[in-house]
């Protein structure tokens, strides 16, 4: 049985480091990532990770890139989770016609091929990364909705929900104080994993060149590294580092999600 | 019911069994200095209310307690102290010599394996009996427990009701003809009539294979009907042991008396106060705060003492085996 605390602590540390990196980018980065120096400079004492084809310091790019990637990741995940939870809760609590309508809508959204749509829209509209986040959020809520709904259906039948109804509490009160806290442990892991998916999706889109070229995300860095000769020339410090960052961040998110699930199980076991 | 000679050899001797758990809320003293014997061929009921420690005693004997439990004492079976055995040896003993039937049958059965196969597995693994023969024996056992239809053995647990699953569990435990069967609340979840039937069948099979039954239950009436002797537990301690009919008609310990008065047939007379915490139990006699006959002495923990019964149920040469933990005696 792996040591959960080690995992969760590791995940937390990683996660927080990235968070700090994003928040304190101006303080941490040695240079402004838009300032031009000598291009294609290999790693050295002045530029720890060298410079790219435009002469921008790669380390600074990396640090500032965390902002874009994290915002897209969080933004998409937050939106998807909020919409999904709302839909799932209402469908599961009210059942009947409400459930049918909401699940019908969910099914329609599920039929939409998500990544291809994002790619197509990104290709035609060339949106900013905010739009990309919004787009992802508005397509991904379906799986959260499904999971939340099934848990809500379960919780609704539990004694204390019936008791609350009998005592005359309003539906709103019951949903927020009785249902939501007992469904939360299902929502959190899905939220964490959505962040990871969103980030990877953003990186993929950017890598394909469909992202926002005016914002440096990690995916964009890899894209430039690819198109501007970084791969061919073996400038590993250019394309490897953003890839590593994406991997590590996703890893930290997954570890946190795992730790949350374990903690939930431990509390259940105590009971 | 034939009651064995009181001086028959004890099959299982529990000596000074104490179990405690470390929990975030404190140290739970689940069992303290539990001593009793289980004799050959007899049915001993360990009765008490929820949380008195009786299930913990059963799990302790079978070495199935969680990691945060600390166990002291001895459980001597066939000359060996079970509590001192290694896990491998204990695994061999479990199932084949001492079987345990747990409370929630639907949870103890593998939902995706056919019922007959689960029972037959016991024979295949422990005794190396062939598949066809073990399946046949499983079917026989099931029909003896009232699940007569041929197709029953090839069905899955989820197709069964709680009562049927309970009988499957009993079949699984008895198929190896163990010498001791520990049944933990076997009648829970079964309604009155069915519980009676299942227990009667269990008693019949137990007599046939010559096993002893340690029955753990909170159902006093079931204990009275099925068991030869009864041990009453309160807050982790045994407070009274004796022949079931005697304990029922002449309870010696004030708790036993109060408990019996709660029965519907005696008018639902409640016991004042509430069950004590096992983290900070009362000093001395655990029952004294609620006892109508308490004295100053009760602040000190009484020992188990032998008591002569009125002789109504015992022969002239039989020792009555009646013990009470109370200063009144």
């Amino acid at each position: 049985m792996p040591d959960v605390t080690k995992f969760s602590r590791g995940g937390l540390i990683l996660f927080l480091s990235f968070l700090l990196m994003a928040v304190f980018s101006p303080a941490l980065a040695p240079y402004d990532p838009w300032v031009r120096f000598e291009p294609y400079f290999p790693p050295g004492p002045e530029h720890l990770l060298g410079t790219n084809d435009m002469g921008h310091d790669i380390l600074s790019e990396l640090i500032f890139g965390s902002r874009v990637s994290l915002i897209v990741g969080f933004g998409a995940a937050l939106m998807a989770t909020l919409i999904g939870t709302a839909v799932g809760l209402l469908a599961g609590y009210f059942k009947g016609t409400t459930d049918e309508i909401l699940m019908g809508i969910t099914d329609i959204f599920l039929m939409i091929p998500q990544i291809p749509l994002i790619i197509v829209l990104a290709a035609f509209l060339r949106p900013s990364f905010w739009m990309v986040a919004l787009l992802m959020g508005s397509l991904w809520w379906t799986s959260t909705a499904r999971v939340v709904r099934s848990k809500a259906l379960q919780v609704r039948e539990m004694g204390f929900v019936q008791a609350s109804r009998a005592l005359g509490f309003s539906d709103r009160h019951i949903i927020f104080t009785d249902m939501l806290p007992n469904i939360f442990h299902v929502i959190m892991p899905k939220f964490m994993l959505s962040i990871a998916s969103a980030m990877i999706a953003e990186a993929s889109i950017s890598f394909l060149g469909l992202g926002d070229p005016t914002m440096k995300s990690w995916g964009m860095m890899i894209n430039f590294a690819f198109t501007r000769g970084g791969f061919i020339n073996g400038y590993w410090w250019w394309y490897l580092t953003p890839g590593l960052c994406i991997t590590l961040f996703v890893l930290s998110v997954v570890l946190l999600g795992f730790a949350l699930e374990e903690q939930e199980e431990a509390t259940m076991r105590l009971e | 019911m034939s009651s064995p000679l009181a001086n028959a050899a004890p099959l299982l001797q529990i000596e000074g069994l104490s179990v405690s758990f470390e929990t975030p809320l404190g140290r739970v003293k689940a069992a303290q200095d539990v001593c009793f014997d289980l004799r050959e061929g007899e049915t001993l009921a360990l009765v008490g209310e929820t949380g008195c420690g009786k299930s913990v005693v059963a799990s302790a004997i079978m070495k199935l307690l969680p990691h945060n439990a600390s166990v002291q004492g001895r459980a001597v079976f066939a000359g060996r102290d079970l509590l001192a055995l290694g896990e491998k040896e204990m695994a061999r003993t479990r199932g084949s010599e001492i079987a345990i039937v747990f409370q929630n049958p639907s949870l103890s059965l593998n939902p995706i394996i056919r019922v007959g196969k689960q029972i037959a597995e016991m024979l295949q693994v422990h005794k190396g009996i062939s598949r066809t023969r073990s399946l046949q024996m499983a079917e026989d056992m099931l029909s003896r427990l009232g699940l007569v239809k041929k197709e029953t053995a090839s069905m899955y647990p989820f197709q069964f009701s709680g009562g049927m699953n309970q009988r499957v569990m009993i079949a699984t435990s008895m198929i190896l003809s163990p010498r001791i069967i520990i049944a933990d609340e076997p009648s829970k979840g079964l309604d009155g009539v069915l519980a009676g039937e299942v227990m009667a069948e269990m008693a019949r099979i137990k007599d046939q294979v010559g096993a002893s039954l340690l029955l753990i239950t909170h159902d006093l009436l079931l204990a009275r009907d099925i068991s030869d002797r009864m041990a009453v537990m309160y807050c982790g301690e045994i407070v009274e042991i004796g022949k079931s009919r005697e304990v029922f008609s002449e309870p010696l310990h004030p708790y036993t008396n109060a408990l019996l008065s709660c029965l519907p047939e005696r008018g639902f007379q409640p016991i004042p106060g509430s069950s004590p915490s096992m983290i900070e139990p009362p000093a001395g006699c655990k029952f004294h705060p609620r006892c109508p006959q308490k004295q100053d002495k009760c602040m000190r923990r009484p020992e188990m003492v032998q008591v002569e019964s009125s002789g109504e149920f015992s022969g002239a040469n039989e020792s009555t085996g009646r013990e009470v933990r109370c200063w009144l005696y």
Binding site: M158, G159, F160, Q162, A163, S164, R165, A166, L167, G168, F169, H173, T177, D178, P181, N182, L270, E271 | L25, E49, T50, G51, D191, G192, H218, L220, A258, L259, S261, C262, L263, P264, E265, G267, F268, Q269, P270, I271, S274, S275
Partner: protein
């Protein structure tokens, strides 16, 4: 003696199937009357529809046929505040004591939220909580605990306390003690009896145990296969 809650030819049917609708009739033609200060015992084997009937009388499920009358009014014709008033006056205590409390709310919070529902000012909460704990026989130390940390009997008392805060006239008791030990059962049943005398409550006592029914009821109805026998 005034009939406070009545059922008139109440029935419940379940339909299944999309094209070939199958109708399963759980209850039919139930007529009964509940009187202030008296207990009506409802007996029947499991599956005979006792709980469903209880829930219909409490207004938690709608009957497929017949009417449920509270103080002479069909409860399903009541709107808004009137229906809420009915809800308050007819309460229900459920079978699984631990299940009727939200596992994530402390006992104190579970009690306080009812006080909040009744729009009782917060400064009175301490006093009211103390009163209700005393009425159901619970020590104050339980307040900071969670349902999983207290016994089944104590959970049932908390559930009962919450119900009593609403000053109901009728309480539907669905197998209130069948999940409890016999000594706790004796305590709860005696508590219910005392409260009935003190507060003039009408009870519908649902149980499969004849002795429990006999101990508490003034009148008994037996349900068999959906109808009164």
């Amino acid at each position: 003696m005034l009939a406070v809650l009545k059922a008139e030819e109440v029935g419940k049917a379940y339909e299944s199937g999309l094209i070939f609708k199958k109708r399963h009739i759980a209850l039919r033609g139930i007529t009964l009357e509940m009187v202030e200060g008296k207990t009506l015992g409802l007996m029947g084997v499991s599956g005979s529809g006792k709980t469903t009937l209880g829930m219909m009388l409490a207004g938690l499920e709608k009957p497929s046929s017949g009417r449920v009358l509270f103080a002479g009014e069909d409860i399903w014709r009541l709107r808004g505040r009137e229906f809420l008033a009915f809800r308050r006056q007819v309460q229900m205590v459920f079978q699984d004591p631990e299940g009727s409390l939200n596992p994530r709310k402390s006992i104190e919070r579970s009690i306080h939220e009812v006080l909040g529902l009744l729009k009782i000012p917060q400064r009175e909460w301490l006093k009211r909580t103390g009163e209700i704990l005393e009425m159901v026989g619970l020590p104050e130390e339980l307040l900071c605990r969670y349902p999983a940390q207290i016994s089944g009997g104590q959970c049932q008392r908390v559930a009962l306390g919450r119900v009593l805060l609403l000053h109901p006239r009728v309480i539907i008791l669905d197998e209130p003690t069948s999940a409890l030990d016999i000594s706790v059962q004796a305590q709860i049943l005696n508590l219910l009896k005392d409260l009935q005398q003190e507060l003039g409550l009408a009870y519908l006592l649902i149980s499969h145990q004849p002795e429990v029914i006999r101990f508490m009821s003034h009148e008994t109805i037996v349900l068999e296969r959906g109808g009164i026998s």
